[in-house]
Amino acid sequence: MIVSFENRLSRFLGTTAIFIAIILVLFPFLWIFLESIKPPSLGGRPDIWRFEPSWENWREIVFNSNVPLNILNSFFIALITVVISLICGAPAAYAFSRFRGFQGARYSILAAEMMPPAILILPLFLLLYKLELIDSRVGVITAHLTFVVPVVTWFLIGFFDEVPKDLEDQAMIDGYTRFQAFYKVILPAVRPGLAAAGIFGFVLSWNDLFYSLLLTGAESRTLPVAIAGFWTFRGIELGKMAVAILIAVIPVLILSYSIQKHLIRGIGGSGVKY
């Protein structure tokens, strides 16, 4: 097969562009990793590439810092947020998918997403203060629900749209109530969607800095807040920060990879079908 010059050129340019993009994305990870294994004395010296690797920063973070507690907090908060979001979001998404009295209704849930968090934070802060929930995991979970529930709901509408209505009709004829039909037949049919929406919501909560920074204290501090905390008055503790960043990023990478197939479908698949 003869490949024309134009073809070869466009393939070469395409490959080069992708290669550059990959480097742009991956280089920071490499740099952070190198930073995490630099001896503390060389911390913050990006110009030094040859050094004796040291696990000092890792040891410090794992055994002599609050980071394990912060990880636990982040994990617990994200997990509970996701569980509550799925419990509220799945029936909501089902309702938006099935009952189409007002076609635009489903877009209203995105309104919560469009609002800048700064609008919510003040009332939320005052509310949690009155309830004595500042510096508590419950407080952060409440805040995270404000943006995870709408996202999870939006995400799931598209999946419910794809389940034929005949399935629940059949279940209702088979002797079940609509609610039983929903959780015995329809929910199992959207299991991949539930998993994907759950992971997506988990990552959103896990990565949140804004609410966590303002609502947590020593007890309930989450990992992103802890990472920001390495920027101290005495300078940035770059080595430790690098370790914490890697710990924060790795689960996100793994989880995102596991749902990549459903991610686009969930975000893009919720348009009303006429």
């Binding site: 034929p164 005949d166 399935l167 009709d169 059949q170 279940a171 209702m172 004829i173 088979d174 002797g175 079940y176 109530t177 039983q180 037949v185 199992p188 049919a189 299991r191």
Partner: protein
């Protein structure tokens, strides 16, 4: 048991009337087919009976018991959907047993009944498969199995054969009829395929625009259509129609000439006159009473194996279609004039529908 009564049943979505004052009695153990063009309200009628849509006015009763307001699960019916609606996450065995589980039957009894049905439908070797690992015909069988395992009073079928290929459709058609004979339950079958309806039904209900046009046995529907719509809808190729009016002495004034008939219609009334293609014969030398001879030109011949469809045109421009047996086809030659005979008693006369 399984007698179904619709009384003054109406259903409207917004200002659109889907079903308009439907009255129908379906006898116990009957195989009734609802037939009509798309959008005629036949599927909606079925869904109203199943309880999947709410009734706008009127009542539905099963065995004399008013079920109009009952939930689908309390009506003791089973339904087979066009796309089978098999539960995708359950195995064949779980699909069939799902309805029995709702009745809180013991797992042992459920297994027994599922096996019995699977045996009847030849599904035993597929019990552990998921629906997506089944062919269309097998999925159809599972859907039927799921319906019959519960032994309901009434079976509802919503165009269950339309997703199958032609051969499989014939096979499943025979199988459904056999099951109906064995189980003896009232069956209501929705289809838009007239051949299917003619082959399966004890009685056919022809619907159009939310109204019943005619109820009758397949023979009645075919040979004594009550309305122009029924006459035109049933039969393939469809009935020939000619526009005309009643002239003096009960004569029909038609494009192909005047024909004398017995009719109760009034002088000057506009009419549509229909004749089935197979009733148009070649005229032979012996003139029979009530026979009308017309000369037409053969314009097209379609050979369909055992028979052929012949199109012909009268000098007035009136087009007629005739069905001819294979051994007769030699008598028709493209482009030539032939004499055909229309028996007066084969004509169907319908008052003109005003547009």
């Amino acid at each position: 048991m399984g007698q179904v009564d619709f009384k003054n049943l109406s259903k409207s979505f917004g200002s659109t009337n889907i079903i308009d004052g439907l009255n129908l009695e379906i006898h116990n153990s009957e195989f009734l087919v609802l037939l009509g063009p798309s959008g005629c309200g036949k599927s909606t009628t079925l869904r109203l009976l199943a309880g999947l849509e709410s009734v706008s006015s009127g009542t539905i009763s099963i065995d004399g018991c008013d079920v109009t307001e009952l939930e689908p699960r309390d009506r003791d019916i089973a339904m087979v959907f066009q796309n089978y609606a098999l539960y995708p996450t359950m195995t064949v065995e779980q699909n069939i047993g799902f309805g029995l589980k709702a009745k809180k039957m013991s797992p042992k009894l459920i297994k027994e009944k599922v096996n019995e049905v699977a045996d009847l439908l030849g599904l035993t070797h597929l019990l552990n498969r998921k629906p997506n690992a089944l062919s269309g015909g097998q999925q159809q069988r599972v859907a039927i199995g799921r319906a019959i395992v519960r032994k309901p009073k009434v079976f509802l079928f919503d165009e269950p054969l339309s997703n199958l290929d032609a051969n499989l459709r014939l096979e499943m058609r025979a199988e459904i009829m056999k099951l109906h004979r064995e189980l003896g339950a009232t069956t209501i079958f929705v289809t838009h395929d007239q051949e299917e309806a003619m082959a399966m039904a004890d009685r056919i209900v022809i619907m159009d625009k939310g109204l019943i046009e005619q109820v009758g046995t397949p023979t009645e529907i075919y040979f004594q259509p009550k309305t122009r719509m029924v006459a035109g809808f049933i039969g393939n190729p469809s009935m020939n129609f000619m526009k005309g009016e009643i002239s003096k002495n009960s004569e029909l004034k038609l494009p192909i000439g005047n024909i004398k008939v017995n009719t109760v219609l009034n002088l000057g009334e506009h009419i549509d006159v229909g004749i089935r293609p197979e009733k148009i014969k070649l005229a032979d030398s012996k003139r029979k009473p009530n026979e009308n001879i017309v000369t037409v030109k053969v314009t097209n011949i379609e050979l369909l194996g055992p028979r052929a469809i012949v199109k012909m045109e009268h000098e007035s421009g009136q087009v007629l279609t005739s069905v001819v047996d294979h051994d007769e086809i030699g008598k028709y030659e493209l482009g030539t004039n032939i004499s055909i005979s229309l028996a007066s008693n084969a004509l169907h006369i319908f008052p003109k529908i005003k547009d």
